[in-house]
């Protein structure tokens, strides 16, 4: 596998131009803005149990993380 560096200086195993390396298009604003309320949703947790964001966090603050290939 050839490793190539992208225009921002990052190395990754996928070739340049591969959809896995796509960035946010210029001018695109991802998701809701600060001040808006996150919509409620239900997703399975790591054990497959459904979690509802607003119901299951109680009155606590939340950190909602979308991630992939978690070299973090």
């Amino acid at each position: 596998m050839t490793v190539e560096r992208d225009a921002l200086g990052f190395d990754a195993p996928a070739p340049l131009g591969h959809p896995a390396r796509a960035g946010i298009p210029e001018g695109h604003v991802p998701g809701l803005a600060v001040g808006e309320r996150l919509p409620d949703f239900e997703l399975p947790d790591a054990n497959g149990q459904p979690i509802r964001l607003h119901e299951d966090r109680g009155q606590a603050r939340a950190i909602v993380v979308f991630f992939r290939s978690a070299v973090w």
Binding site: V3, G9, L38, I63
Partner: protein, 269 residues
């Protein structure tokens, strides 16, 4: 990601929302590339509305009893990884009655300035500053901070310094922080000062999964085999939309061949 890339459509672009008790978004962390990610410690600090000087990590001090300066790295125990954002926190503790300046300042006065230098690939982002207080002195409008002030300089490494796909060139990166400031009371000013602080930050070796795609790049090969998960994903995607699966394979093959060709041309030069 385009819907044409149906094979990968639905895989999220990394990003983080932080909410308050009512579910309202108080902070949002998205970057221009999936390679940039904020350290978990920074996300927790954002949720708790605090700035933490991590005592367990690299920390240096300067200044005197009037102006005490502490600089520390927040996130990853002060280590560096490709694309992972850490914070350099510079905390000023100003004696009663003293203030320092934010931009802009009238001619002859010195605004607080932090410059951070490191090896090639060490990349500094825009500073995060708390709001200033307005002060009107001798006909001039000034932006000032007093008390305890935390100025934050986010930074990350690109592949040149800390690649995750080739062996690292060094174990630690030397970082130099220059802090220029002028402290004043409402009546008089101390002379401007410049403090220079040094850090040596360890570079992290990445655990890569046991996938042919990742292996053999010189990073630490993890003891977890992600092949079963990858096989399940490919099977699910191929079953859901067979043309998309073959389109994906064709595209990947085409791009890989082009990538190999570029590498060969580079080697010939």
């Amino acid at each position: 990601m385009s819907r044409d890339d149906a094979m990968l459509y639905g895989i999220p672009f990394p990003g983080v929302f932080v909410t308050d008790e009512n579910g309202q978004i108080t902070a949002k962390f998205f970057h221009d590339t999936y390679k940039k990610r904020d350290s978990p410690e920074i996300l927790i600090d954002a949720a708790l509305g605090r700035v933490t000087l991590d005592e367990g990590t690299a920390q240096v001090e300067a200044g005197d009893t009037e102006v005490k300066i502490t600089a520390a790295i927040r996130g990853g125990k002060g280590s560096i990884r490709q694309g992972v954002i850490r914070h350099l926190i510079v905390r000023f503790e100003l004696a009663e009655g003293l203030h320092i300046y934010g931009e802009p300042v009238p001619e002859g006065m010195v605004a607080t300035q932090i410059t951070v230098d490191g090896p090639p690939g060490f990349t500094v982002m825009d500073a995060i500053q708390p709001p200033t207080r307005k002060l009107h002195v001798a006909g001039a409008d000034l932006e000032v901070w007093s008390g305890t002030v935390d100025l934050i300089v986010p930074f990350y490494a690109t592949g040149e310094l800390a690649s995750e796909t080739r062996p690292l060139d060094m174990n630690e990166a030397p970082i130099e922080v220059k802090i220029r400031y002028q402290a004043c009371t409402d009546e008089a000013c101390l002379l401007p000062r410049t403090e220079t602080l040094s850090f040596s930050l360890p570079l992290d070796v990445i655990d890569v999964p046991a996938l042919s795609l990742h292996m053999g790049h010189g990073q630490r090969e993890g003891n977890y085999n992600s092949m079963p998960a990858m096989r399940r994903l490919l099977f699910r995607k191929a079953r859901a939309y067979p043309p998309g699966f073959f389109k994906y394979l064709f595209k990947t093959l085409k791009l890989s061949l082009a990538s190999r060709k570029r590498a060969q041309q580079k080697n010939r030069r």
